[in-house]
Amino acid sequence: MNPKKLGRAVLVALPFLVVLILALVLAGTLSDRLPGRLATHFSATGEANGYTGRTTFLVLTALVPALLGACWTYMAVRGRFHGRAYDGFTAAGYATAAFFGYLTTVTLFANVDTADGAPGATFTMWHLVGAFGSAAVAAALGYFLARLLPALPDDPEAAAAREGARIPLADGEVAGWVRSMASWWLPGTALAMVLAGVVLTFALRPVTGLPLMVIGLVLLPYSRPNVTVDRRGLIVSGLLPWPRVHVPLERIDTATSRNVKAVAEYGGWGYRVRATRSGVITRSGEAIVARLENGRDFAVTVDDSATGAALLNTLVDRRRGRS
């Protein structure tokens, strides 16, 4: 691991380590004053209505931040972050750690010096506000710290795209590229859901069938999504103009045409949002992959993606030239 990556891993692990140490210190100093059964679940009025054994609770307060921290650090080291995508990821880690640490700490203090099993422990719902507040503050801190580190170097793919194919346009010439994402399973799934909804409505009861029917009907206009590349950017829309996915030109850095793997890279099909990338994925295969200014990737699986990517790069170049 190079020193730069090590630095990022430490920065990501830091909040979880702090919460872990806090949990251990509290467990060491407070365990004598805690009852055998800790109130850990509270009603809206603040009265305890759920309990956890003391040992279990103390082990969990240390184990959870350790595991979360390990996951976050692993992703920081192994994840393919580019540009500034790492900043948001770090901020999310800080927020998670602070939220968890705040709640376990106030829960522990609520239980201090209460009798075993007695309804002594109370917990105001203001603690939830405090938890979200501290998460927000920690997120800001994490983001600020991550910004202090230099942005990750560009990957060779984006560098190649900068040199890649363009579509020569005359001054003032307007170009647009439109292509439909033909796929057999999109209309199939939507129709199957509507049919299943109708069958369930009559066979069982409307409560079971209606939601399926509604979701199926909402999906139907997206049976044949259109991908558009033009002066507005990259747009994926259904039969109706709205709702749609729109990535404006000013948010796009470069675009490439490459093969994407639906499951390995995007965890499935449909509109996917992952840690460092999102996309509209109908299949594995060729796609326009746009590298955004914030370091994330946005992919659309579509045929003839080379033309779309070339036009997108051309339009991005032109916008940069003007601004």
């Binding site: 170009a175 590229w177 259109n226 829309s237 033309t307």
Partner: protein, 118 residues
């Protein structure tokens, strides 16, 4: 498919749109049965008037390259082969040249008829 129009050109925008489709059919990048964007979507994309886009599509329909169906948009006809699209481009070139020569409509048709009977 790729549409490109140049508002500063003397060729009407509708004709430019039609030429894009004709070119795409003739080089095979658009196949028969393929759906073209709805006129409104195309107009939004290129920043032209809907009527301009529709005029381009009407023209392609007269040439038998696309079918216009209400609510379904424009679909490239089964008969729209690259060959046919190239023939249409040829016809357009012949007509343009005849106009440049100042040839009357009847005279041009006579020429074509003579060629057909030859």
């Amino acid at each position: 498919m790729l549409f490109r129009v140049d508002p500063s050109s003397s060729v009407p925008l509708g004709d430019q749109i039609a030429a894009c489709v004709r070119r795409a059919v003739s080089d095979g990048s658009v196949a028969p049965g393929e759906r073209l964007p709805a006129a409104r979507a195309l107009a939004d994309s290129l920043g032209v008037n809907v009527h301009t886009a529709l005029r381009g599509y009407q023209r392609l329909r007269e040439e038998g390259l696309i079918e216009l169906r209400r609510g379904r948009g424009a679909v490239v006809t089964a008969g729209a082969s690259p060959h046919r699209a190239r023939l249409l481009e040829g016809v357009r070139a012949v007509v343009a040249e005849a106009r440049e020569l100042g040839l009357a409509e009847g005279d041009l048709l006579d020429l074509v008829r003579a060629e057909l009977n030859a």
